[in-house]
């Protein structure tokens, strides 16, 4: 594909990092994607199921346009894109420069195993004598010191965990590929100084560390230590804090002055942890809490050693940096006193551990049994808010994700347990604030998941067993005890480990909650241009939101790259002129990698040749030892050049990895890479162990695989790649903040945008909201956006204009605009962004309309602004949440009403501290940082009363001059409360403003609530099902301003994928129609999940848009007549393969 000048660094290869990287790569920028972990995918590599589908579906993030630029297979296994370079086990050590020209230093941990040589055969595993808890299974299983970080990753080279490894060397001897290189020699050069006034400590540390091969000296006091430092050079000093005379902190200070490169780890008692943390600010690397044992000390020292000595450093030049470091889970052991006994009671697990229990690749292979004793799990409790909404844990925020994942896990448990599993969720507020979440939660309740409102403070094992017994206070005040087979702690999120250091390195502040601070109302932009935050790095977000913020971050990065000259010129890949082999009968060269003798022995070769050359299209079968090496690869290229076959089949390992290499081979040999294929021979060979493995090779299972591939390859023709021309300009419908932001985001990257607004002014809802809950001025944001839109040379604003009709598909839509005066014009555009917004839903309950004191939130705000309400005269105000929402037919949470209520309540308490403000709510949806304002509102004296859906508040109006009375049942007191209110404010939520016929004109659909139906709520959250049609802002779903702005950036970035191309290229694997066989029955049109097919009435033909077709084959499956054909997977090819499989 076309590459642009310009490169970005994406830090963090979790779901958000992958999204950002793909978004940048898809529009042609180079990306360096790094992760400090040894695998991509972040925590999602461990999660098998996502709601609301309860499946995975991560692969839906893969490129849809120009798919051939990357591999198309399970994204949890690996990511391969020609514009993305992935560096694992890597972190940033320094950043210098400015936007457009950053120099970033990266440090990659050694793995001790050469990934080029390791074939993943696993011979090293049985000989390794060390077993440690397996992080992939969240510690539920065990692994060796040489291990695969994620078992399903591709390619999957083994790695050595230096902290666990004893350097015994058994794996070195066992490795058939010579891939492992251990060296203990360098440990002798690593000199450690141990400083402690306790001789016992000095002696034990010395012996522990010397056992590991380090060079250790000791000192009994700080002055002694300084003396030693003066005499010889040390790499690491371990020092006690509390020592007579000069203490450890002072020692640190002086030692760092004398030897700035010295790494210092402090040892501290429980009491002086604070001091230790302080000490880290003046240069201590880390600290250890006494008493400690070799199991904690030694790995830490090894890590320091590894970091300091064995890591590989390199520098990259990038134009922009996306920080997508994600979050970490809260460790329940950090809760004061560990009240849930996590780590002590085996039947208390974290939610992540539970995900592993239900995972097919987990410790119990997905069976619902307790990992520690194998007993079937029949009764499970989920405890919410562990480490969230807990000021004591330093979490005055809601982690935003736990409620929904707990519901999902409860559903999974019920499903896995065939209905015999009892699942109970103990919660404070169920925060199901995403678009489909409330219905999902209701479904769970209908299917038998129990929801108990109440926080569990602690649990104890049932007498005589290890089964956890919960003690909790029911709503009626009774204290109850209940024993469960398993207790799942719904652990909250924390800023990612290392996030603070990273922020410090790039000189960015943290916000009060410890996350990266971003610019007001942006959440992706930071104080430093060119450095942006993606995913959940700057906040608490679920998958779908993380993906949105990742795309928005990619958009910011794209704008920086573009603005600093990034796309001024595109590098055209030198077009290779491939040999024209279309008229030749197929001639297949089969090249088999022998991989030493591990795939086949000398004796078997004859048999293989006979088997393969039975098919006359096989020109020759050649054998190459280690085709993956440079020599092997050259031998293959030479063979192709010499023999000039028109198809090449390679039998080797890791076929996924070959995508990029085949392209190189194609350039070298002038044979089109689509005419080459790779078959995995090593995998099946390894899967069959021992003697069986010989049989697999000699008895023909491996040759059979090759023969099948030959059958397929001989039917492969070079497809006529059709490319659809693109009208490289965008239409944005809706001139609110989302529409304006999207327009600017596209126009800033150089493409013309027509912005259509039905009203006479731009601005939408921002014209009345005023400011956000956290006090940011929206008027300023609005004014700036309007000004920028107004003077942007690439943006044409059409006010007082509506879209009257539209047709076409991605690349060339035609929309007819009609102005207020009736003048019509038709625009051609390649993409459309629907940003039609929404408004406050109408109120129809609680006596609205019968008394001037009963108003909606917007009405309240307006009345205050216009002076119809005087805050000083409002003695009592009742605010009712969820008016007409979160119940059918509008069974969704509007997200903004609870924060708006807090905003209004706090403003009222500010203006009139004596006022009584009572908020009647069902679940207060202050997700994320908004929780802090919930706390503030309580502090300010706002009274919150939860009501139940089946016992709604009653509003009585006695007369126009009498106050309105509101009666509600207080759950804790168990009796009604009556309030005479001067104002009753109804939170009615959001009603979308996306006309169904407008969406339909572009081929998009609405969901049951009238918002745009996303292609996929998690993985493609701003796309419609129809390629080229995107949505943002309230048209997509209820969101606050900051989130809406992010959806706009994300939608713009998705749109840029299309606009960046003059023509939309089709992939090789696309569907075509054999019109002579087609009966026009239309089944394929209904079956196509990408809406790539349509019946052209005039031509009387079914047509496929090759750019939209993703080659999934659904059409081929439903067509009874073979009229729907996948290029490259035709029926004769499949029959040929079957034939060979049976031969």
């Amino acid at each position: 594909m076309k590459k642009k000048i310009g490169k970005a660094l994406v830090v963090g290869a979790g779901i958000a990092g992958i999204r950002s990287a793909l978004d940048l790569a898809e529009i042609g920028y180079g990306v360096v994607l790094i992760d400090k972990a040894e695998h991509i995918g972040g925590v999602l590599s461990q999660l098998d199921y996502q709601f609301p589908t309860n499946h995975c579906g991560m692969c839906r993030m893969l490129p849809l346009v120009e798919r051939d630029a990357g591999s198309q297979f399970c994204l949890r296994k690996g990511l391969f894109h020609e514009n993305i370079e992935i560096l694992l086990g890597t972190r940033v050590t320094a950043v210098a420069g400015e936007p457009g020209r950053f120099t970033v230093s990266l440090r990659t941990r050694p793995t001790w195993v050469d990934p080029q040589r390791c074939t993943g055969c696993g011979a090293c595993v049985p000989v390794c004598p060390v077993e440690v808890p397996d992080a992939f299974n969240a510690g539920l299983g065990r692994r060796k010191a040489i291990y695969l970080p994620v078992p399903h990753q591709v390619p999957n080279a083994y790695r050595i965990d230096p902290a666990a490894c004893t350097r015994c060397g058994a794996c070195v001897d066992a490795c058939p590929c010579g891939a492992i290189a251990l060296s203990t020699a360098e440990r002798k050069d690593f000199r450690i100084l141990v400083v402690d006034d306790e001789p016992i400590v000095r002696q034990s540390l010395e012996s522990w560390l010397e056992d590991e091969g380090f060079a250790v000296d000791t000192a009994a006091s700080a002055p002694e230590a300084l003396e030693a430092l003066e005499k010889s050079e040390y790499q690491l000093m371990l020092s006690d804090i509390k020592m007579a005379g000069m203490d450890g902190v002072e020692l640190l200070r002086q030692a760092k002055t004398a030897c700035p490169d010295l790494a210092v780890v402090l040892m501290t008692a429980y009491a002086t942890v604070e001091t230790a943390v302080e000490a880290m600010k003046i240069g201590a690397l880390d600290y250890l809490v006494k008493p400690f044992d070799p199991e904690t000390l030694v790995p830490m020292v090894m890590r320091v050693h590894e970091e300091l000595l064995a890591a590989k450093d390199r520098q990259v030049e990038v134009g922009a940096i996306v920080l997508a470091g994600g979050t970490d889970y809260f460790d329940p052991r950090q809760q004061a006193g560990n009240p849930y006994g996590y780590g002590r009671l085996p039947a208390v697990v974290t939610s992540l551990e539970f995900e592993r229990i239900v995972s097919g690749s987990g410790p119990t292979t997905g069976r619902l049994v307790r990992p520690h004793d194998g007993r079937p799990i029949r009764k499970i409790a989920w405890l919410q808010c562990v480490g969230s909404r807990d000021i004591q844990c330093g979490a005055d925020f809601c982690s935003s994700i736990c409620c929904m994942y707990a519901v999902k896990e409860a559903m999974l448990a019920r499903e896995k347990g065939a209905g015999e599993v009892e699942a109970a969720i103990f919660y404070m507020d169920m925060r199901c604030f995403g678009k489909p979440f409330q219905r999902y939660r209701d479904r769970a309740e209908a299917e038998g998941v129990r929801f108990e409102r109440g926080r569990i403070h602690s649990l104890a094992p049932a007498p005589g067993t290890a089964d956890p017994t919960l003690r909790f206070v029911a709503l009626d005040g009774t204290v109850r005890e209940e024993t469960f087979d398993l207790v799942v702690l719904a652990v909250g999120q924390r800023p990612a480990r290392g996030a603070a250091e990273l922020a410090q390195m790039v000189d960015l502040p943290l916000n009060p909650w410890g996350f990266l601070a971003t610019s007001p109302l942006s959440a992706v932009r930071t104080e430093r241009p060119g450095i942006v935050a993606g995913g959940s790095f700057a906040g608490l977000r679920d998958i779908g939101e993380s993906v949105i913020f990742a795309s928005a971050a990619a958009n910011e990065a794209s704008r920086v790259l573009h603005g600093t000259g990034g796309s001024l010129a595109a590098i055209e890949e030198a077009a290779t002129e491939f040999r024209d082999v279309s008229r030749q009968p197929p001639e297949v060269l089969v090249a088999v990698c022998t991989c030493g003798d591990r795939i086949l022995s000398q004796n078997d070769r004859r048999q293989w040749i006979d088997r393969l050359e039975r098919d006359p299209v096989v020109q020759e079968t050649i054998f190459i030892d280690r085709v993956c090496t440079a020599e092997g690869w050259q031998a293959l290229a030479d063979a192709i050049t010499a023999r000039r076959p028109n198809r090449v089949l390679i039998g080797a390992c890791h076929p996924y990895v070959f995508t990029r290499r085949l392209r190189e081979l194609g350039r070298a040999t002038r044979l089109h890479p689509a005419l080459m294929d790779v078959v995995d021979l090593l995998g099946p060979r390894m899967a069959a162990s021992g003697e069986n493995a010989e049989a697999v090779s000699s008895s023909g299972d491996l040759p059979r695989r090759l023969a099948m591939a030959v059958a397929r390859l001989q039917g492969t023709c070079l497809p006529q790649v059709e490319a659809t021309p693109v009208s490289r300009q965008a239409l944005v419908v809706g001139g609110g903040i989302a529409g304006m932001t999207a327009a600017l985001a596209i126009a800033d990257c150089g493409y013309p945008v027509d912005l259509v607004e039905a009203g006479d002014r731009l601005g939408g809802n921002l014209r009345w909201i005023g400011h956000t809950l956290d006090g940011h001025d929206l008027n300023a944001l609005l004014a700036e956006a309007i000004a920028r839109v107004g003077k942007h040379p690439k943006i044409t604003v059409h006010a007082n204009t509506r879209v009257r009709g539209a047709f076409g598909e991605v690349g060339h839509f035609y929309s007819t605009l009609e102005a207020a005066d009736g003048a019509a014009q038709t625009l051609e555009h390649g993409v459309v962004v629907l940003a039609t917004g929404g408004g406050e839903a109408a109120a129809s309950a609680y006596g609205f309309g019968s008394h001037p004191a009963i108003v909606t939130q917007k009405g309240f705000q307006e009345a205050l602004a216009e002076g119809r309400f005087d805050p000083a005269a409002l003695n009592t105000v009742v605010m009712i949440q969820c008016v007409g929402s979160r119940e059918e037919p509008r069974n969704f949470c509007s997200r903004v009403c609870c924060p708006t209520t807090l905003k209004q309540a706090l403003a009222l308490k500010r203006d009139n501290p004596e006022a009584t403000v009572v908020v009647l709510y069902r679940d207060l949806m202050t997700y994320g940082f908004a929780e802090t304002w919930f706390t503030r509102a309580r502090r300010a004296g706002v009274i919150f009363v939860a009501y139940r859906l089946d016992d709604k508040p009653k509003v009585e109006v006695a007369g126009p001059d009498r106050p309105v009375t509101v009666t509600v049942t207080d759950a804790v007191l168990g009796r009604p409360l009556t309030v005479a209110a001067d104002a009753v404010v109804l939170a009615t939520g959001i009603a979308p403003g996306l006309p169904a016929d407008l969406a339909a004109a572009y081929g998009a659909t609405l969901d049951q609530d009238g918002f745009l139906a996303e292609a996929e709520s998690k993985w493609r959250p701003v796309d419609s099902l129809r390629e080229g049609v995107f949505a943002c802002g309230l048209a997509l779903g209820p969101r606050n301003v900051e989130e809406s702005v992010a959806t706009a950036g994300a939608a713009a970035q998705r749109a840029l994928r299309i606009l960046e191309r003059e023509r939309l290229p089709a992939a090789h694997l696309t569907a075509v129609v054999r019109h002579s066989l087609c009966a026009r029955c239309g089944r394929c049109i209904e079956a196509c999940p990408y809406e790539a097919r349509r019946l052209d009435e005039e031509l009387d033909r079914v047509l496929v848009n090759p750019a939209m077709c993703q080659g999934c084959g659904a059409c081929e499956a439903v067509c009874p007549n073979g009229a729907a054909v996948l290029n490259g997977l035709s029926m004769p090819q499949v029959f040929g393969m079957l034939d060979q499989a049976l031969a």
């Binding site: 004061a336 006193g337 009240p339």
Partner: protein, 295 residues
């Protein structure tokens, strides 16, 4: 090691053996205790129930006296958890509120005292576990208490609300000390539970229930070790009432921590006034005898 010493009222009366054993043990370990001259009651749990200001002024008076003895500030060793909390609370509150300190000093002025906020109140367990340290004690052990199973009881107020030296939910600071003394640990989860405190005086039925649960959980141990006179009294003195209520014999030796550790470093039962403890069981004494013989 020098400490100012605040014994508190109980240590003059019901908990005399705590006072005596603390002094004996600390001295034997090489520490120097200087009793605050003219100290008065810290207010115990009673002041809180009567007057907010009194809860601050009564302890502050003692802190001011301490400052008079060591103007540069020195650690105040307090064996009683209630006293410790009361004194500590004043330090913590005065540290963050200048206004409060002013108010306290206004009251103290009638006694010509000034509290500057330079003291550091430390609980006996804090000093023993961190200053003396298990290793330091182990070095001096001459009579390992092998075969004696010890249940460490921490009570509440040395752990909570101020988290200073131990985990407030699952305290463990006594464990290395017990190990250093050569004794065995009775592992339980009751170490930080409430003994009922002054309920024993005002709402005995409530107090007995709490004490009963602790004694029940201690079954299997030879001795429960405490670090607070109130806890000691509740566990030590009401065993008969508990037995009457539960119908289960709950006789148990209850020792103060310095008593136990003192035995291990060679102090005699007489030095430590074991005769003042109310419920020394025969079984415990027998085991103790055996360690003596072994030594």
């Amino acid at each position: 090691m020098k400490y100012l010493y605040y014994p508190g009222c109980s240590l003059e009366g019901t908990a005399r053996e705590y006072d005596i054993s603390t002094r004996a043990f600390m001295t034997a370990m090489g520490a120097d205790l200087a009793e605050i001259e003219g100290w008065t009651c810290c207010g115990a749990s009673a002041a809180e129930a009567v007057s907010e200001l009194l809860t601050l002024v009564l302890p502050a008076r003692n802190l001011a006296l301490a400052e008079g003895m060591a103007p540069a500030g020195r650690d105040i060793l307090v064996p009683c958890s209630a006293c410790y909390l009361n004194l500590r609370r004043v330090e913590e509150k005065a540290r963050v509120s200048h206004a409060l300190k002013e108010r306290i000093n206004e009251a103290l002025a009638v006694e010509d005292l000034v509290y500057h906020g330079r003291t550091r109140t430390r609980h006996l367990l804090d000093v023993v576990s961190r200053d003396l340290g298990a290793a330091g004690i182990a070095r001096r052990v001459v009579r390992p208490l092998s075969g004696i199973r010890v249940a460490p009881y921490y009570g509440c107020q040395c752990l909570r609300p101020y988290t200073v030296f131990d985990d407030p939910e699952a305290p463990r600071s006594m464990e290395p000390l017990i190990a250093a003394a050569g004794a065995d640990l009775h592992a339980w989860t009751m170490g930080g539970r409430c003994c009922g405190a002054s309920h024993m005086n005002t709402k005995m039925e409530v107090g007995l229930k709490l004490v009963g649960a602790i004694l029940e959980a201690a079954r299997g141990a030879d001795v429960v070790v405490t670090v607070c006179p109130m806890c000691q009294m509740n566990l030590d003195a009401y065993q008969r009432q508990v037995a009457r209520q539960t119908g289960v014999d709950s006789t148990m030796t209850i020792l103060y921590l310095p008593q136990l550790l003192g035995l291990a470093i060679g102090l005699s039962p007489e030095d430590l006034r074991l005769d003042l403890n109310l419920a020394l069981t025969g079984a415990f004494l027998e085991k103790l005898e055996r360690t003596a013989t072994a030594a």
